[in-house]
Amino acid sequence: MICLAIACDDSASPETETKNASKASANETGEQPAPLLATGESQNPATRFAVSIRKPLGPPKVSTGLQDMHGNLVLAACSTCHTTRPPNHQNKLAKDLDEFHSEMQFSHGTISCLSCHNERDYDALKLADGSRVEYADVMLLCAQCHGPQMTAYQHGAHGGMTGYWDLARGPQIKNNCIDCHDPHAPKFPSMQPTFKPQDRFLDPPRTDH
């Protein structure tokens, strides 16, 4: 993961902003279009610090199961195989796949692989209208279906953040969708509470009611 700092565009107010992310096109520099990242914070533009969103580096790599001489896992880019193998449109589940992905948990509504992955170009993702979108800009892809979440995200009401609440005093770093959600099984994972106040005389932990 890297952090890309993006200065917020104050001119875009959330009300007038288009919620249809597919309208936005990624620009050459790899920066997100401004509307997606506009936060609700309005301060004096002159002294505003950046809100940055953690971004994936690029197309993911898949483990081949092999190890090199140093004992490190050998990773391969998706395109290594996918440029030579035609896609099977019948595949909906991970267990239908031959290699690599058979262990993958896939549970993402009713969509299938090719809803987000290109048939040929596996180094990038695709939006619903078929236009190409970089892995780094995965949030555009999520936002096209998850509008309410995206709206909440833009107002700091969805997704974790660190840094400053007051952008006049310092920057803020926000999580990316895929920091918390596995895109193939986006339901937030179960957790085991690790911290419990140890009050004297309080009942031992209860699991029932």
């Binding site: 609700g40 009401a157 969805h158 007051d166 005093r169 999580n175 690790t194 009611h209």
Partner: protein, 323 residues
């Protein structure tokens, strides 16, 4: 009054049979015996309260005579902070800095929790414990997370001691901490004004002024206040050296403490520790006076409620669900 006067005044002696032989004596001698008894009693009392002699080591004269926070001049404060820093240095061998950031003019803090997101994992409690130099022995924290069955808001159906993977399908989770009320019962009842509401809405405690009567703890409807039942123990390497006088400095034994919205962070513009730690992003913090702030977006766009609204405490802490 001398023993002689006593002798003069002494009426007919009680019948000898009804007195201890030793007391069937002329009055002067009886007075002497009484004096001896009193001396013995005093000596025994001195012995009985001997554990108190350990206090001068824990409480310096300066601390004993320290004035209320609001009475302190800037010079006084610098002296007090320097003293506290050196005391921590001596006790724990840790370099700390005690800051005292003032409220940011025009800011009023608000906090909201998305109950649809919170999964009760307790990371906020842990972050609070570490950030605020809480007593480690009891895993103290300003936050308690209630697990409630879906379909009710009755806390009586809830419990805080769950110990299973979260979230459970039929449950939702509600963290409760200080609601920073606009009409705080704890401030009303404090007999010595050791707790008060600051300009930015944060209710703070002067740990060096609190007498430890715990009336505020009885008054708080949100179980938000904590008492230092013993000297807090924190391993030296776990001390958070970035300390605020009214917030997360190590609290003295026998005083009250409470959540202060991490004022040593938030008054510098930073987010509270519990928000940064929340893995689900359920927490929203910001300035209620800024119409464009995150917290105001939540108030405008979500259906928000506060806990125990009927008590008229007017919390600055809100809860909402994603519809």
């Amino acid at each position: 009054m001398t023993a002689d006067d006593n002798a003069d005044l002494h009426q007919s002696s009680p019948e000898p049979s009804r007195l201890l032989p030793i007391l069937n004596q002329p009055a002067t001698r009886r007075t002497a015996l009484k004096a001896a008894g009193a001396a013995l009693g005093l000596a025994a009392f001195g012995k009985a309260v001997s554990p108190l002699w350990s206090i001068p080591e824990n409480v310096s004269v300066d601390e004993f005579l320290q004035q209320h926070y609001k009475e302190l001049s800037d010079t006084d404060k610098q002296k007090v902070f320097a003293r506290l820093e050196s005391e921590t240095q001596q006790k724990l061998g840790v370099e700390i800095t005690i800051s005292d950031p003032p409220p940011i003019p025009g800011v009023r803090y608000g906090y909201a929790i998305n109950l649809s997101k919170c999964n009760g994992n307790g990371a906020c409690m842990e972050a609070c414990n570490k950030e605020n130099n809480h007593h480690r022995g009891v895993q103290q924290s300003y936050i308690r997370v209630l697990e409630l069955p879906k379909g009710t808001m009755d806390m009586e159906a809830g419990n805080t001691t769950y110990d299973h993977t979260v979230p459970q399908d039929d449950k939702y989770y509600m963290p409760v901490q200080c609601q920073q009320c606009d009409n705080p019962p704890c401030v009303t009842v404090c007999p010595v004004e050791a707790t008060w509401k600051e300009e930015d809405g944060i209710v703070v405690v002067d740990y060096n002024w609190c007498i430890g009567c715990r009336y505020c703890e009885a008054a708080c409807p949100y179980h938000a206040r904590r008492f230092n039942w013993e000297e807090p123990e924190i391993p030296s390497d776990e001390i958070n050296p970035d300390q605020g006088y009214l917030s997360n400095r190590v609290r003295p034994q026998g005083t009250m403490e409470k959540c202060h919205f991490c004022l040593h962070r938030t008054r510098e513009g930073r987010l509270p520790a519990c928000l940064e730690a929340c893995p689900t992003g359920a927490r929203v913090f910001g300035d209620l006076n800024d119409p464009e702030s995150n917290i105001n977006w939540v108030l405008q766009n979500k259906r928000v409620f506060v806990l125990k609204e009927e008590l008229g405490t007017q919390p600055s802490f809100f809860y909402f669900f994603d519809s």
